[in-house]
Symmetry: C2
Subunit: 256 residues, 2 copies
Amino acid sequence: MNAGRTARDRARAELTQEIKDTARRQLATDGAERLSLRAVSRELGMVSSALYRYFPSRDDLLTALIIDAYDALGAAVEKAAAGVLGAAKEEPAAGPLDSAKEQSAAAPREAWLAACRAVRAWARKHPHEYALIYGSPVPGYSAPQSTVQPASRVAVCLLGVLQRAAEAGVLAVPEDAAEPSETLVGQLQPLEEIAPGVPRAVLLRTGMIWAQLFGLVSFELFGQFVGTFDPADELFEAAIASHADFLGLGERVGQR
Amino acid sequence: MNAGRTARDRARAELTQEIKDTARRQLATDGAERLSLRAVSRELGMVSSALYRYFPSRDDLLTALIIDAYDALGAAVEKAAAGVLGAAKEEPAAGPLDSAKEQSAAAPREAWLAACRAVRAWARKHPHEYALIYGSPVPGYSAPQSTVQPASRVAVCLLGVLQRAAEAGVLAVPEDAAEPSETLVGQLQPLEEIAPGVPRAVLLRTGMIWAQLFGLVSFELFGQFVGTFDPADELFEAAIASHADFLGLGERVGQR
DNA sequence: TCCTTGTCAAGAGCACCGCTCTCGCTTTAG
DNA sequence: CTAAAGCGAGAGCGGTGCTCTTGACAAGGA
């Protein structure tokens, strides 16, 4: 990490980070639209043109912030899921066998719920960064290829939880789930590669739930709930519980 | 409508509409962020300052466009739902009694699905206007009170479909639906006033589904599905079908 | 009929924006 | 040691939202 060979390299890396930090701070106070290179450079005590040595354009700075945001959210969600799964894994011999089996059955569901809660918590903590990545895309701006890998981290993490559940044998394929059509099977291919072993019907449902999870968070954050579900805590809890049921992550195995 | 008393009033109304139309066109091509008063005035052949006689600021123009967008979407959804409900109402004596009853049972579900499809269709047809109302909120801008009524049109329409279903006795309260907590009952109050007769458990689920529906549309429109559910038609159909089941709008009454 | 009153488009101007180019200076690499 | 590359500063271009002033014009009362 500190492998900046020359002093110039180190200075450059530091200043690049400093620019991103100040930009992120301005993002939090004024929003993405009002983020201005000139204001950032002013706050840093340098002239605006010097900033172009580090980011070729305003959009490139935004792209860097977008990638950072995806990564931060992904890390938060991964940590939350791993926390539950790891904890359940570390104490397998705590109680009698029966209780241990129950625990390992409940762990994936709890990990799923924890991941969903982490998405909401991170979004509420960094609303402008969330808006940057899950709000309307910037007009002329089209997300460069470099964003797709960080962007997929949350989805990959959620799929990982389901795969763990499938491996542990606690993923009950919902009985009323229709087998996906031919077209859908093709579209599910990427998901299948990420989480082999998860039934296609569940993968399809994961696709829906994935989008819908962010729908809930976005509605809360963007103010669509004011007047009704203003603190959306309970609505969110009810929703992600029903999601877990819908995916076959029920603690009551086989139900529904 | 054409009650513009003086010629001046009429000219003013016309020009106001013309400004909105031009702005909407620019919105469709360049996005909200790049919408510029100067460009609008240039296209209209007037000087930029003259535009401030009609809209006190850029944000006010945006507000007008937002309200128009909410109204257009609301009208499209209402039309789609009414089309199904009206059609089912007009031919009650087409077949034998048994068939007629089946039809009236299926109508609310079809109306629900039609409304959801109308949301998606309108969004795909007017992506920038959709982004304006369901994307990230403009930074410093907070939605004025005048937007909340148009904003609620879609939700009211969806609730209306459910109420019709409840009145027709084809809304099967899902058996595994938990009764809302005290807090939630309070939050559901506004929904209850809009759609009296719909069970609270269903109202709660409607709140979730409402947000989740727009989550699906947003993910598709904002490019989150590229690489997987690229034409999202089938995913969307599967999702809204599961929504209808979830709400108790099943054609298979009582199931699930 | 004239004259007041209010509305209008136009223009100049302010402060800000993204971005480009040139100019010296310093650090690096050969 | 020298040439090249990287660096910050400054000037400048065309664009933006917005304000203020000015003069033309139409409507309505005396």
